[in-house]
Symmetry: C4
Subunit: 339 residues, 4 copies
């Protein structure tokens, strides 16, 4: 057991796990909104060197993973939750506009939750930050996996909460069907299925546009060389997601996020919705997995190409960063020619 | 009578009752939005030593109680008010979405009203602050009682305002019925009654999840080691409550608050809705009293366990604070071994 | 003609009319959001001593009147405008919720417009500031008259805009009818008429409660000894008005404002809606003129009595300010006894 | 190729293209929300003198044009997108209120996008800034052309996205009709067509009023001598546009913007909607091109005349700026008489 150290009022109480904090993308006003604890008897017990606590060390190591996990879980809890309530109550307890609201505030609150890790909650957004904002590539797989797991977990909780209502809606205990195979399908609660009139190209194009707009606006809102939303970024993201839902959400359900779509789809498969979750819409399931990466990359490139002036974008480097694609020895050569 | 003291322009005009102010949980931008009074004749009369005024001393003592009372009253005025308007006008003057709005802004404005005492307006939230943020336990009963009384008072005002409309809706002067016992029941204005298809476990689980999300997000929004909402906390809480209503509000009406549900239920019983307010839904009434405490504790623990790094949480102490459960002499022993 | 003075870049460009600025109630972040002008040829012509300009002097004198006039006009433009659009389009271009939105944002934008004079745009609010916040009584008549004139003007513009649509709605050119006297009455666009089931006491009580809540919350939002909304006050007022409309707006139409109701009523009378605008609802017209003063005074008193600690409130003076009601010589006596 | 310079952590990374930055109208909190890049191997390659990069120089030159182009494109993407979704889904995926939301957030996000150039995204707004805020006249044509091109581009993307849905809605592949000529016309997605009962004067008046309110409120929100919205300006603009849509949007569709209406109209003509896009509503198309200029000028003058005290407005100069209309030699005369 570690030795307890008497508390000193002047010592800073946070920043125990502050390493890597330069990766934080969103920054807030940071006014002292911390609840100042009143001193009582057992305070001294707690003023130990936290960095030696077993769990604190684990948490510091897994901080990004935990943060993205819970951020995406919150996103799915509200997003899938609102679809469940609207669909299962036959639009009595909400309508399409509620769904736009739900996803919008799901993103907003998910970003607040996962602020420590940058509030990505979307693998395609992480990807674009890696490409355009020097976000370390080694973090990409950790982020993506945490996001998918968080989304799966959120979908499972929504399922648990609405199990009886799904039974009533589907017309019998344990019946679980997928849109296109049944009139009372409830699988649309968890992941997206395209409208019937859509062609394959149209589906891809719709997801591509929505993802491009998303990434373009994220870069705009976070650019302090532009107007910049500052501490209002999460609120502005609410409007972005609401807007994408209201303007480009009809045709494919605006997944624009591998984790948001693939995670709950896997959960619904495991729950017992059958292999139709994969085959529906002529194997539509891969579109919302692939299109967001292309869309976010294009949207991010568009912003950097025409509006961004920061030096951290490869667009603002010689040869527009294409040098990076050259082999490593070429770079060494330059270094040596300087020496 | 106390002696009047001539006013001096440079003396600070507030903070007369500033003791205990370290308990304030929410902090705002605090810009000088105070209306600067123009000087006129009787100014000198008012520049007395306020701490000697009889009523100011009483108010300072009861500050927390008054603050939580009025905060919860505002919450119920808007919350019960919007349900009354929607139900009694047969959804002509609002719909389910309005109800989500009403409760959301009720919480937001209630928090603004009760900022002095931390803006809890929910016994389960106070409980979680006691457990996880060193909020003094001795304040818990004062808070809980004030919250219940405020909610009762708010419900009574709503009843007074809509008395004639209830008579029209129920189909006769003085008829007051409870959902499940009548087609035109109006008791649902005041407190929650579960949907018919719900099992007892489902009811509890639904309230538990909604309360967990609430507390998890309150801790997230107020954590300045995370993104933190700062002065936007009340606005973000609007979105939280709106979201819970839109996503998890159908099955049990998202009470997630003992004061919000028990207070108005008591009022409606006293008004004359009969003992059905207790028996309805197979004695459902205790679920929204008990489940929020479990839910908020779990949600708070989840946040502290995986995301919070502040030293004021027992999770970030040796043995995760379980030492606190040991007898007092054990702690003394540690003290003595140090000496 | 005044002599032109060469411009100097370092001279402050504003504050020409800054006298009396201590009356401004709302204060914003005040960051330099002013558009910095590029210098061009005729700049020197403009760097004259502005305080000598004829019109600038008039404007400085009438600042409060102009400010409240335009603030109330904006309120009515949006408020009456949204009712007109919803009613005349037979709820095709909006519904009851839009009306709540419209009045909410009308108040918000009206407050932004009339920030120089404190953003009252309601005689009852001005009254409560006089009673509880030492706002100078001599300003009350100026404020009240400006507010009524602004409301009349706003209503006239809305009428001009929707003249053809009213003709179509009423079923003939020039037909103008009042609710209760015709199925297709359009007078409800301009001012409020009570629901039919209401008693006189109920009407008064409904307006009284809504006004009390309004004033209580205005004082709460502007109290920096409480949480305080700071620069978010106009946004928070949007939620307050939306909430009052959604929760207490059905029975009497939540006038809660003499200027908002009496001004447009006068305009509608002058337009030709007939004397029914006064007789409708058994001479209801005086209720929204009188009740808000009682309501706002009570709501303000409630806040000051139980929550406010600022020395500018009479409640926080000896004898709770009732001394003020004593004759003036009594005060002189106190002064002399001190000397 | 330019010589790579080793990076130095202390050198400022932005402001490469900062010339002309005094034209920026909106200013944000500017807190360091920039993602701090982690250092890795190729950093030194990028720390070159950016002002020598070919593309950065082009972008600096075209900054205003790019900024207004993309700002207006975002506006139209959301604005036309939401109309498309609501109309083509037969109000199943949204209603009139969604349309107000969509345009409101389109403006908000468009302003965030085009903050570098002042966030005008409307030629009439640029015009009013030239007249009343010394915005340089030489920029007016660049702004206006960029705005129209951005709007055309946005409309084309919306068309591409909803092509299949338009085919279904119009009842056949390639059928494209205009309101007034067909029951299932879809041209209203792109630009505005007036309601049938409107007279020509009424149309002009409706657009004139809406534009006046817009400009009056933009000046109010950006006036730090008034309350001023500061960093909340884009959010407040959301409410302004939502309000204009909800209150004055029925009769003519509240174009209030040459670029927003003429750009997409041209696109829809090029797509193949036929010459009816020009002839519809008795050659209505010129009204939303001309009226906004008159409206915005009047609204801006009204604000400056009665409320604005800044020296950059011609209203606050001798002879209310009418001197400016005198020939240039007259000004020279004054200069010489001083010498």
């Amino acid at each position: 057991m570690s030795m307890p150290i008497p508390s000193m009022p002047s010592m800073p109480k946070r920043d125990i796990e502050s390493k890597d904090s330069q990766d934080t993308v969103f920054v807030s006003l940071r006014q002292g909104s911390r609840h100042e604890a009143t001193i009582h008897d057992d305070t001294f017990l707690e003023a130990v060197d936290h960095s030696r606590l077993f769990w604190s060390r684990i948490r510091a190591t897994c901080r990004d993973a935990f943060s993205e996990f819970f951020g995406t879980m919150i996103l799915i809890l509200f997003g899938d939750g609102v679809v469940a309530q609207v669909v299962l109550s036959h639009e009595e307890k909400g309508n399409y506009q509620s769904i736009s609201w739900g996803w919008g505030l799901g993103v907003m609150l998910g970003v607040y939750t996962s602020g420590m890790s940058g509030g990505h909650i979307n693998p395609a957004v992480t990807f674009a930050f890696c490409v355009f904002r020097k976000f370390p590539w080694r973090k990409f797989p950790i982020y993506a996996i945490s996001q998918v797991l968080g989304a799966m977990c959120g979908a499972a909780i929504v399922y648990g909460n609405y199990k009886s209502a799904i039974d009533v809606y589907e017309g019998g205990k344990g019946i679980r069907t997928v849109p296109g195979y049944s009139k009372t399908a409830s699988a649309g609660i968890f992941c997206t299925y395209p409208a019937e009139f859509m062609t394959r190209t149209g589906m891809f194009f719709s997801e591509f546009i929505a993802s491009s707009i998303l990434m373009f606006l994220i870069f705009a809102l976070k650019d302090d060389g532009n107007l910049g939303a500052g501490p209002l970024v999460p609120l502005a993201l609410f409007f972005v997601i609401f807007g994408i839902g209201a303007c480009f959400g009809w045709e494919t359900g605006y997944a624009i996020n591998l984790a948001r779509d693939f995670g709950p789809r896997l959960t619904s498969y495991m729950i017992g919705y059958g292999r139709e979750v994969w085959t529906a819409g002529n194997y539509y399931f891969w579109v919302p997995m692939v299109a967001p990466f292309f869309g976010c990359t294009f949207g991010g490139w568009l912003y950097d190409m025409f509006l961004y002036t920061g030096a951290d974008s490869p667009v603002n480097t010689p040869w527009m960063g294409l040098k990076r694609l050259l082999p490593y020895w070429k770079q060494n050569q330059v270094l040596q020619s300087q020496a």
